[in-house]
C-alpha cells in the first residue's frame, strides 16, 4: 500500500507542478513540490489558483482543488504573460 501511495503522490505532484507552470506562471525550475511544506512558491501559486478559480484559499491540495484541476479547460494561462 505505501508503495502505491507514494506513486499516487508522485502523480499528484506532477499534475500540480504542470498545472501551475502552464496556467499560473510557476517558474519551470521550481524545486519539486513537497506536499508537507507550508510555505514556498508552489504553495503561494496554489493559493493564487484557488482564489482565481473561486475555491477555498487553503494553499493545500484538498479534494475540491484536485477535482477542479482535473476538469477540462482552456489551454490559455489564467495569469501572467
Amino acid at each position: 500500500y505505501p508503495a502505491d501511495r507514494a506513486a499516487e503522490d508522485e502523480d499528484i505532484m506532477e499534475l500540480v507542478q504542470q498545472y501551475l507552470e502552464n496556467y499560473y506562471n510557476l517558474a519551470k525550475d521550481t524545486k519539486p513540490f513537497v506536499r508537507r511544506r507550508e510555505g514556498g512558491p508552489v504553495v503561494e501559486k496554489i493559493r493564487e489558483m484557488q482564489k482565481f478559480l473561486g475555491l477555498a484559499v487553503t494553499g493545500k491540495l484538498d479534494s475540491d482543488t484536485l477535482e477542479m484541476m482535473r476538469k477540462p479547460r482552456c489551454g490559455v494561462p489564467d495569469v501572467g504573460e
Binding site: 478559480l53 473561486g54 476538469k71 477540462p72 479547460r73 482552456c74 489551454g75 490559455v76 494561462p77 489564467d78
Partner: protein
C-alpha cells in the same frame, strides 16, 4: 474579466475568419454553424462584424489539431486542454486551435464546439480569462451550461466592451435613437392585456414588435423597450404590416404587407423592392402571409398562411417541395392563425392575438404559454 498583458485588440471592427480544416466528429455544416454562432455571440454586443473567407490569409484562422501542432503549446490528448487561442495580432495571433482528441459535438454529449469556440474566440478578440464562474471566459469548461438559453454574462459583456465598446448607434445604424414616441390615446399600450402584434422580427440582436404605425424595440441591454414610429426609421415602408423576419447571415430584414415585400439593411430599404410575394414561390391563391420566422441554425424561413405553412430554403433561395403543410402537423399545440413569430435562444415564439406560445423545435412541443406583451417588461 481580464485582458491580455498590453491589452492587445483589433484596430478595425470588420474581421475575417477562415476555417482551415475540419474535425471528423461533426458534419462540416455543423462546424460552420457553430463557429458562426460563436462569433455572433460577440458581434451582438460590440461593433465587430465578421466575414468568412475560404482562401488566403484571415485575421482569425480556426483549426483542429492533435498533440504538437506547430506552436509552443502541444495538445495533451483526450480531456484536460480542449483548445487555446492567441490574442489579436498578425500571423498566428488571433488564431484559435481546437484539440481534435476531444469528441466535438453539437450538444453536450461530448465537448460542445459552440461553447468552446465562443470562449476561444473571446481570446482571439482580446479577452483573457475571467475569475467569474458564470462567465464564458472562465477557464474551466462548464458541462452544465444550458445551450438553449446560452447568454454572455455581464462580466463577459463588460470585458469585451472595455475593448471595443457597445454596438454603434451611428446614424447609419438602424436603431439610431430617435425620440421615443410618448404613449397616448392613438398609440398602442405595451401593457394592454389584450395587446397583439402585426409582425415581429429580430434585428442585430434586438427584437422589433410591430403594431399599426409603431414598433417597440427590445434590446437585451436595457430593461425598457423603445417605442417608435415605423416611418421614423423607414419612411417608405407601409404601416399595419403582415409579417417580418431577419435573415441573420445576410443582415437583412424582410418586411411583408399584402402581396408585396421589402428588404431593409439598417435604415436602408434595398433597391429593387418591393417585390411580389409570388416571386418567392407562393401560389397565386395566396394573397398575403400572416407571419414569417427564420431559423438561423437551419437557414430556413417558415411562412404561415391561415392553418398552413410553407418552408423556404434561404441557401437555395427557393420554396421547399412538399409544402404547404398543416401547422398543427409539425407544430403540435400551435393553433392557426399565427399573427407573428420569431426564433430566439433555440425556441420558436408564436403570437396569436393576446397569447404567445414558446415552442421547443427539438422536443416538438409547446413549453410555455404567455401573454403576447411579456417581452415588453410590463
Amino acid at each position: 474579466f481580464t485582458t491580455f498583458p498590453g491589452i492587445p485588440k483589433w484596430r478595425k471592427t470588420h474581421l475575417t475568419y477562415r476555417i482551415m480544416n475540419y474535425t471528423l466528429d461533426l458534419p462540416r455544416e455543423a462546424v460552420d454553424s457553430a463557429i458562426e454562432k460563436a462569433l455572433n455571440v460577440w458581434k451582438e454586443v460590440t461593433p465587430l462584424t465578421f466575414s468568412r473567407t475560404d482562401e488566403g490569409e484571415a485575421d482569425i484562422k480556426i483549426s483542429f489539431a492533435v498533440r504538437d501542432h506547430g506552436d509552443f503549446s502541444p495538445f495533451d490528448g483526450p480531456g484536460n486542454v480542449l483548445g487555446h487561442a492567441y490574442p489579436p495580432g498578425p500571423g498566428i495571433y488571433g488564431d484559435a486551435h481546437f484539440d481534435d482528441d476531444e469528441l466535438w459535438t453539437s450538444d453536450t454529449s461530448g465537448t460542445n464546439l459552440f461553447l468552446v469556440a465562443a470562449h476561444e474566440l473571446g481570446h482571439s478578440l482580446g479577452l483573457f480569462h475571467s475569475a467569474d464562474p458564470r462567465a464564458l471566459m472562465y477557464p474551466v469548461y462548464n458541462t452544465l451550461t444550458d445551450l438553449a438559453r446560452f447568454r454572455l454574462s455581464q462580466d463577459d459583456v463588460d470585458g469585451i466592451q472595455s475593448l471595443y465598446g457597445a454596438p454603434p448607434v451611428s446614424p447609419d445604424e438602424p436603431m439610431a435613437p430617435t425620440e421615443s414616441v410618448p404613449s397616448g390615446p392613438e398609440t398602442p399600450d405595451a401593457c394592454d392585456p389584450a395587446l397583439s402584434f402585426d409582425a415581429i422580427s429580430t434585428l442585430r440582436g434586438e427584437i422589433l414588435f410591430f403594431k399599426d404605425r409603431h414598433f417597440w424595440r427590445k434590446s437585451f441591454r436595457t430593461l425598457e423597450p423603445g417605442f417608435f414610429l415605423i416611418s421614423s426609421f423607414w419612411p417608405s415602408l407601409p404601416s399595419g404590416l403582415d409579417a417580418a423576419y431577419e435573415e441573420t447571415s445576410k443582415d437583412i430584414v424582410f418586411i411583408f404587407k399584402g402581396d408585396q415585400f421589402w428588404a431593409i439593411r439598417g435604415t436602408e430599404v434595398q433597391a429593387g423592392y418591393p417585390k411580389g410575394i409570388h416571386t418567392l414561390g407562393f401560389p397565386e391563391t395566396v394573397g398575403k402571409i400572416d407571419a414569417a420566422m427564420f431559423d438561423k441554425e437551419k437557414k430556413k424561413t417558415f411562412f404561415f398562411v391561415g392553418d398552413k405553412y410553407w418552408r423556404f430554403d434561404e441557401k437555395r433561395q427557393s420554396m421547399e417541395p412538399g409544402f404547404p403543410k398543416q401547422i398543427a402537423e409539425d407544430f403540435p399545440g400551435v393553433d392557426p392563425k399565427v399573427d407573428a413569430a420569431f426564433e430566439a435562444f433555440g425556441f420558436y415564439y408564436f403570437f396569436s392575438g393576446s397569447s404567445q406560445l414558446e415552442f421547443d423545435p427539438n422536443a416538438r412541443q409547446v413549453t410555455h404559454a404567455l401573454k403576447s406583451r411579456s417581452w415588453l417588461n410590463c
